[in-house]
């Protein structure tokens, strides 16, 4: 049976990238605990508009935890207190009547604030553009079953591919690093036979672009702890291994060795 909560929200309000921003305090009374966190914000916003005040801006779309649009920091934790859960899938039954809740945008140098809880995550797209793909021109593919992929390999690639690109990993990292995001895509593609021809160039260019926007990884493991999809930091180790190997191969190539990109 559902019950009602009376809450106090401290929400980061910032009109635009140039504004300095500050917390605003809002009462959220009569919140049904079957609501999602975003539905609670919808209710607060409807009331704000009723009072003639600017509603709180936040990114959201599918509200099923898969599009990666939503995400902000709740009481110091990206996506809030429930492990493996995006804010759109976080329900108010995990909060108590009378709670004070602090809501802030992702804080990271690479993610400038656009308004309130909305940030730009454009550098993620840049990382993918640098090599997060397999070059497979439309129409040139051979029969899908002509490449056998052992189930454990396919499953592991899938685990990495499950990343939704929400940015929680960056927000959680004291260094604002994007290793978990980047390594997940590299692992997805570098594990598969189809990904081998571009394996070394992929890891090299994606890591370079990543480093041009984001901080460095110093193994705090905060990223893994807050990832709503449970992406493992083992993929970071794999990325580092591939990156070093790629550099090593470059040297060998310069020395006249036989190792090409596909080697």
């Amino acid at each position: 049976m559902s019950k009602n909560l009376n809450l106090t929200l401290r929400v980061w309000r910032q009109r635009g990238p140039a504004d300095s921003g500050a917390f605003g305090t809002y009462k959220a009374d009569g919140i049904n605990d079957d609501m999602s966190f975003l539905e609670m914000l919808d209710v607060v916003n409807e009331r704000l508009i009723g009072d003639g005040k600017d509603p709180i801006a936040f990114d959201h779309d599918c509200r099923e935890g898969i599009c990666g649009s939503c995400g902000f920091v709740i009481d110091g934790r990206p996506h809030g207190p429930q492990p493996g859960t995006t804010v759109c899938q976080l329900h108010m039954r995990h909060f108590n009547d009378g709670d004070d809740i602090t809501v802030e945008p992702w804080r990271a140098a690479a993610f400038p604030i656009i308004k309130d809880l909305v940030v730009s995550r454009a550098p993620f797209d840049k990382i993918i553009q640098a090599g997060g793909y397999i070059s497979a021109p439309t129409g040139a593919a051979r029969d899908a079953n002509s490449t056998l992929i052992p189930k454990p390999t396919a499953d592991l690639a899938f685990d990495a591919a499950a990343c939704i690109g929400c940015g929680a990993c960056v927000a959680a990292c004291p260094n604002g690093a994007a290793q978990l995001f980047t390594s997940a895509k590299i692992a997805h593609l570098n594990l598969l036979p189809q990904g081998q021809p571009e394996r070394w160039s992929r890891v090299t260019s994606m890591v370079e672009v990543m480093e041009s926007y984001f901080g460095s990884c110093t193994n705090y493991r905060e990223c893994e702890a807050v990832c709503p999809k449970g992406i493992s930091i083992d993929f970071i180790a794999k990325m580092n291994r591939d990156f070093l190997q790629a550099k090593f191969r470059d040297k060998k190539k310069l020395a006249g060795g036989p190792l090409g990109d596909a080697g």
Binding site: D42, A122, D125, Y133, G139, A144, N145, F158
Partner: protein, 639 residues
Amino acid sequence: MPELNASVPPGPLAEKWDNHKFDTKLVAPQNRRKFQIIVVGTGLAGGAAAATLGEMGYNVKAFCFQDSPRRAHSIAAQGGINAAKNYKSDGDSVHRLFYDTIKGGDYRAREANVHRLAEISTQIIDQCVAQGVPFAREYGGLLDNRSFGGAQVSRTFYARGQTGQQLELGAYQALSRQVELGSVKMYPRTEMLDLVMKDGRAVGIVVRDLVTGEITSHSAHAVVLATGGYGNVFFLSTNAKGSNVTATWRAHKRGAYFANPCYTQIHPTCIPVSGDYQSKLTLMSESLRNDGRVWVPKAKGDKRPANQIPDAERDYYLERRYPSFGNLVPRDVASRAAKVVVDEGYGVGEIANGVYLDFADAIRRLGRATIEQRYGNLFDMYAKITGDNPYEVPMRIYPAVHYTMGGLWVDYNLMSNIPGLFVIGEANFSDHGANRLGASALMQGLADGYFVLPTTIAGELATQLNQPPVSTDSAEFRAAEQSVKDGISRLLGIKGSRTVDSFHRQLGKTMWEHCGMARNTAGLTAALKEIGQLREEFWSDVRVLGENESLNQSLEKAGRVADFLELGELMCQDALHREESCGGHFREEHQTPDGEALRDDDNFAYVAAWEFAGAGRPGVLHKEDLNFEFVHLAQRSYK
């Protein structure tokens, strides 16, 4: 009444596409860079099209309202994608997929398009595997399949319960590669607000930068709309919150015909509504019906917990009514059957608004680990939303608006009645007739985007060779920009008392009550009146705060809801005029004695394509007759 010509190529069904590809004019590789193409929307259809067109050498501009093209709503599709690979040797073939799709659509789709879709289905899987889409595999390393509704073969490829995500990321990655190569210029957080026409041709679009509010124009030789469906007219649906009809509706207002708007798909397995605050409904994939059994108690108002109701006191109504397809009947049939039992008082849950989807037998038979592997993420999602554990108690489900088969009318080339304007994916009306089969939306989106459009668009572009795109300084663009700006000023200037959402909710309630799972003359007539009044109230009393020149989510929503208010009327008008039941369109006046949809092939075997005649005025009907040369029309039976 002018006849609509679908430009279906002549010849035997199975040869039409191959012949047409040969007969279509080509644009030579060195000439492609002379063409500018606009693609709006970056889901499976738009993302695949923009990537492929860029790869071919065209200049592409791609637009999406999300902050990244990867987030288009295709990403939320769960269950799978159909393809006539016959990897299971269970009798599948291109012809069978074609036939199942035509029948599943209740004989209201165009034969030639559907056959082409079935032919291309196999290439899609090849393409996606080559891109690295991690489809489910068997231990031997081969691709795995499962079954979906409306089919008696296993032809659905899947990636856990996140098939849409993986296919979308595949298209997004192919698109990203082209962005890096410079062939595609990407405009995220940008919304199309008007189509620009010159001398009867589509020559560009007007867009709003959602961060700065800047209104700009973009000119092209062809405009491709891949902007998805309009299920959010119901407010509550399984669509993403941002999904909207604005791009296609504004094109409709510029002359593009809107076809079969009343064909909406109500998906049978969604989490039931829990309260007034509800902002959206969540789908539980159709794939669950492979292993889940649908039932309600045999006694009305039975309040015992599910596991205390013995088997003999349960009504597995789908297995009872449809023994040969059982729990895997098509969506429209399953949805109506659920509505019947809930309306009769057999519903379960706190407010008796659901039916059970029970995995107890499957868990006993296969073990919990197998079920977890097949559906783990769906079970987790269910548990998060409801607080119940579906491994221990049955899921409660109820139908919800999911997909819209209607959309802008297109010919065989996927071109609308406006030269230069193409429409692909869910945004067009083409392949699913009056009901879409599960796992066919992903198939159609990718078929259109990767394979059909890049071929057919050349035929149209070839006529434009060496003609520069219309200047965005021309009077046509200036006028369109001005009308967009005026529309925004008008919304901001009303300063009324009601929020945008309150109008949207009210519209959705009217649509769900009168233009939802069951429709009748009285209800539709009442809805038309209600919506007309609501539209007037909206334009005199909506409250949109803030300004145009910054991120303003209320303003974005207001523009979209204004369009939904006009679309809602057209949907009711279409539903009222179609005096038959077919697929997702169920008119209570037209049913068989045992409550199945009763078509009227003599009078309604046509596509209803509506021409805009002004807000609040009835649309003008144009008909495309559906001629079935290869399939024998029959009463659908899944018994």
